[in-house]
């Protein structure tokens, strides 16, 4: 599992708009670069990011070779109920990484 940093507020009021921040370690190799020996470095990027709030998908992003290494993705959602927010990053060569965070909604 790749290290990831997740920032989800531990507590929120029902109906409150909350910011969610995610940062994951990944080289995001573009596929456009060459080694000094002239060989092409194959593309190796995260291409999909999905966030699910208690199982329901609330955010999805497609990523492309222009995205920098260690992608930082932040978005907002409405705190509806207590539970878990799960994050999944999928990429080239079968890459999958997951993380989750708990939130208490009062």
């Amino acid at each position: 599992m790749t290290p990831a940093l997740i920032n989800v507020p531990a507590k929120a009021k029902r109906g409150e708009i909350i910011a969610i921040k995610t940062l994951i370690s990944h080289t995001m190799e573009t596929g456009f670069r060459y080694t000094t020996a002239g060989e092409r470095i194959p593309r190796n990027i995260i291409h999909t990011f999905v966030a699910a709030y208690n199982g329901e998908e609330i955010f999805r992003a497609e990523l492309f070779p222009a995205t920098s290494a260690n992608p930082f993705i932040t978005f907002h959602t409405v705190a509806t109920e207590s539970g878990t927010i799960e994050f999944k990053w999928s990429g080239d060569n079968g890459y999958v990484s997951t993380a989750s965070a708990k939130i208490v909604v009062e």
């Binding site: 940093l5 920032n7 921040k21 940062l23 920098s68 290494a69 260690n70």
Partner: protein, 271 residues
Amino acid sequence: MSRARLSLPDNMRRHGCAAAVAIALLSSMNVAEAAEIPLDQRRSSYDLMSRETKAMQDEDTSNPGMLWVLEGEALWRAKAGEANRACADCHGDARDSMKGVAARHPAYDAKRGQPVDLEGRISICRAEQQKAPAFALESRELLALSALVARQSRGMPIESKDERLRPFIDKGRVLFTTRQGQLDIACAQCHDDNWGKKLAGIAMPQAHPTGYPVYRLEWQTVGSLQRRLRNCMIGTRAETYLYGSAEYVALETFLMWRARGMLMESPAVRP
């Protein structure tokens, strides 16, 4: 001296003379000292960064350098080498035992008779205590461990009090003030004499190593102070030193002395 009104070439010429005199008369360092930034005017390069980049550094969950710290924590606990020992087996929790360590490196190593920087210290410990194969300089693993160790000094003042460092500080100062490369320019000409002015549209920093290892956006990765120095030398079209060389360590020792008392920010984010 009205430095601000001098055009850059004039100033370079003047400083070049000063540097030459300083090298010729190493015993009286007054000439070179005169150009140094007064202690109360020193600024971290953090001050020159955009609001967005500052925000990135300020919050641990948006600072990519913290990904290296996380990896460093795993390595800290992993047993390695013939000794089958982890860093944690001797040093315990890095959060306690490594407090302030990065703020006083490069530190004088009596056995070797010379200063050793943080990456060097980790490598020595790995070879002698863990009896494990060395991590290459600038490798992800070594940077992860040095990021973890340096993180524990965040907010602490840089310390450079060991008198045994003095000859190495002086050697670093000579390197810092000596013109080199095809551009025939010394570090000090930008970072002592013209800091705050623009070079290719970017404000020149004073070059205080307060946040190493840093996550540099241009690199899209974490790098050591030696990598940053190498970067500047390539910029002046000088021949770079080898990673781990005595020249780099002397420059690091001088720069840490020059930044003494300033607060550590590791792992910092820089553009």
